[in-house]
């Protein structure tokens, strides 16, 4: 414990340096904007900002991108509450009661509760991250290729299971993603696969064009087609103060949302989205007056907003401790630090403590920055939404072209972005989720490498995956989840995911 505090102090020495403070601040501001603008979620925002971080140190890059990530969680709540527009998907649940509160003239209080909840949850879950990641990393140092193979497989299956959407669809997307990740040179032999005659494809598909296309472009073309002008209502500062009753009602949901969000965040999946759905469902079930939900219950804002911020931090646990992304956003952030030559994995915390602890400390700082930024300045931020979408989307698309080109200095990346944008458009229309595709694509090289290394180690015997206890346990978990899904599909029974409101109702 003392050691942790000592390391944290070192981290604060780094994070409080003016330059890193500036990056955290810039990240938080950009993130808030990204979260507010429809068509730009945290993933597209982080991907687009990636080239801008090439000139920075890995610590600065990570601090800024993390600022964008949790800034987006704050920003998304603002538009949900004031305008019933979820700036990004994790805020969908906030729309319901947040907007109802706005209609009752309590929009300011809803914003305040959301900001306070996000702050508390964000801070608590950083404590969790700080305490959990180092021991987990120490445990994972003993992981061999067999464990990593099983871990990555389980990650994909948990993601598919947690979504509450159709399992075959999610697995099909994961398989497609893995296949996309195998485009290019084979990791072990250098043999070129699925490249056609395009030399640029030999290095594989980049995560940035794929993420920007699937999550950014597809959303933009969907929104642009049905663009409408919105009326912006600016809350007055004095409205921001919640009443005592509102605060009292929020304490439980914030506490539960923090713990729940953090735990869900660790599990692979679009954690920030899922956690807000689960939190809303739980609060409604626990409430003595569930009929108030949907009509402006402050618990319906406090819970989901706390949960999605806690999940954002929880998602960093596997990323920093194991070097394994739990979802598309940590995947892009891993790519960001790998560009700087930092090798993610269980040794990261021991070998590059300045990155890990600087990052942890900067998250505390970032949460304070966001609280200060979002409450008093919310009136200024929402002015951005006065820009009509027909002006906004061409600018965002321009940014996408610059961002995607700048990563690899290659026009091929722009073509990939266009193709993925088209694919994402179709997927959204037809009820497919892009998250497992992106995650599959990112982990494919690592999965294939560890799979083949494990077989090389065992002399070609597949028993290595069940002979090693950690690997066997992980595979057993995957089988259980698959069996549960099959049972649900066969009996067509509503299982816990529906009961908790995890089924999409957006």
């Amino acid at each position: 414990m003392l050691e942790t505090l000592g390391s944290l102090a070192t981290g604060f020495e780094i994070a409080l340096q003016p330059q890193f403070l500036a990056y955290a601040f810039a990240g938080c501001v950009i993130g808030t904007l990204v979260g507010m603008l429809p068509g730009l979620g945290p993933l597209a925002g982080i991907s687009l900002l990636l080239p801008g971080t090439f000139g920075l140190s890995p610590t600065a890059a990570l601090i800024m991108l993390a600022g964008v990530y949790y800034g987006a969680m704050y920003g998304g709540s603002t538009t949900s509450i004031l305008m019933r527009i979820p700036g990004e998907a994790a805020s969908v649940m906030t729309c319901i009661d947040g907007y109802a509160m706005t209609q009752k003239g309590r929009g300011g209080a809803a914003l305040a509760v959301a900001a306070i909840g996000s702050f508390v949850a964000g801070t608590l879950s950083v404590v969790g991250l700080m305490l959990l990641a180092p021991p987990l990393a120490e445990f994972a140092i003993r992981f061999g290729p067999a464990e990593y193979t099983s871990l990555l497989v389980v990650g994909l299956i948990v993601l598919a299971y947690m979504s509450g959407s159709s399992m075959p669809k999610m697995l099909a997307m994961a398989a497609l993603g893995l296949l996309c990740g195998m485009i290019g040179m084979d990791v072990m032999t250098g043999y070129a696969r699925f490249t056609g005659d395009v030399i640029a494809l030999r290095d594989g598909l980049g995560i940035v064009p794929v993420a920007v296309g699937l999550f950014g472009i597809s959303e933009i073309i969907l929104s642009a087609a049905k663009a409408r002008e919105v009326s912006v209502r600016q809350p007055k500062l004095r409205e921001l103060v919640p009443t005592g009753a509102e605060l009292k009602a929020s304490v439980g949901p914030i506490a539960r949302g923090s713990v729940l969000g953090f735990l869900i965040g660790i599990i692979p999946g679009s954690a920030h989205i899922i956690s807000s759905f689960v939190s809303y469902g739980i609060e409604r079930r626990l409430s003595k007056t569930p009929e108030r939900f949907g009509k402006g219950a402050v618990e319906g804002v406090a819970g989901p907003e706390s949960a999605n911020n806690a999940a954002a931090s929880g998602a960093f646990v596997p990323m920093l401790a194991l070097g394994v992304p739990s979802g598309p956003i940590p995947a892009v952030m891993l790519a960001a630090i790998m560009i700087h030559g930092v090798i993610p994995g269980p040794l990261l915390i021991a070998e590059r403590p300045e990155i890990f602890w600087g990052f942890i400390a900067s998250m505390y700082v970032g949460n304070v920055v966001l609280l200060l930024l979002n409450l008093p300045l919310v009136g200024i931020f929402i002015q951005v939404l006065r820009i009509p979408y027909r002006y906004l989307y061409p600018l965002i698309l321009t940014l996408c072209v610059i961002g995607v080109y700048a990563v690899g200095q290659s026009v091929v990346d722009i073509w990939i972005m266009i193709a993925m944008g088209f694919l994402g458009y179709g997927m959204r229309k037809l009820g497919y989720e892009p998250a497992p595709l992106v995650l599959g694509m990112v982990i494919a090289p690592q999965l294939e490498l560890s799979f083949r290394q494990a077989l090389a180690l065992s002399g070609g015997s597949y028993s290595i995956f069940v002979a090693r206890p950690v690997s066997a346990a992980l595979l057993a978990l995957a089988l259980v989840l698959l069996a549960l899904s099959v049972r649900t599909a066969l009996t067509r029974r509503a299982d816990w995911r529906q009961r908790l409101g995890l089924e999409e109702r957006a």
Binding site: A89, L171, L179, I220, L222, Y391, A406, F451, G460
Partner: protein, 164 residues
């Protein structure tokens, strides 16, 4: 939003036979799986004990085919497939066409001209904004973003045949 509206529960089954969303998408995925498996078959497969570069893509192609078939099999309750749902498809294609132009032009015309033309297309042609606004935005964004990215952030941006 990252989450697509799901086709699954809550959608009233519109009864009867006919083409459904999941029949179309499942069949497409299954076909893609078969094609990928067939393509991978031509790569060095290695053996079960020592997989080659074609092994996992082949296995995944087969898996994709199976998942596609499962989606078709369970697709009876999915919404009826309607082309009308893609009524905004033309606008979507028009927007993507602008990006395709950018991909073609960026290294030929250079960054600044490409971005200016791109904005002219989106704001002037697609959205029919007042021409003076379009003109101002074209200039400000193409030159301003170039200054920001190329000068301040030192991101190398392409120079075209005109030398800028």
């Amino acid at each position: 939003m990252e989450r697509a509206p799901s086709a699954a529960p809550g959608t009233p089954p519109s009864g009867g036979g006919g083409l459904r969303d999941d029949y179309v998408t499942g069949a497409a995925l299954a076909l893609a799986g078969i094609l990928i498996a067939w393509q991978s078959w031509h790569y060095p497969m290695g053996s079960l004990a020592e997989p080659g570069p074609g092994y996992l893509p082949f296995a995944l192609g087969i898996a994709l085919g199976v998942f596609g078939a499962l989606i078709v099999a369970a697709g009876g309750r999915s919404p009826a497939f309607r082309w009308e749902r893609f009524g905004d498809g033309l606008k979507a294609l028009a927007i993507l066409a602008g990006l395709a132009f950018a991909a073609l032009a960026l290294e030929r015309l250079g960054y600044r001209i490409t971005i200016a033309v791109l904005l002219f297309y989106y704001l002037g042609v697609l959205e029919r904004r007042p021409w003076i606004t379009v003109l101002v935005l074209m200039m400000v964004v193409s030159l301003g973003s170039h200054y920001l990215f190329a000068r301040l952030l030192r991101v190398p941006l392409p120079i075209g045949v005109f030398g800028f």
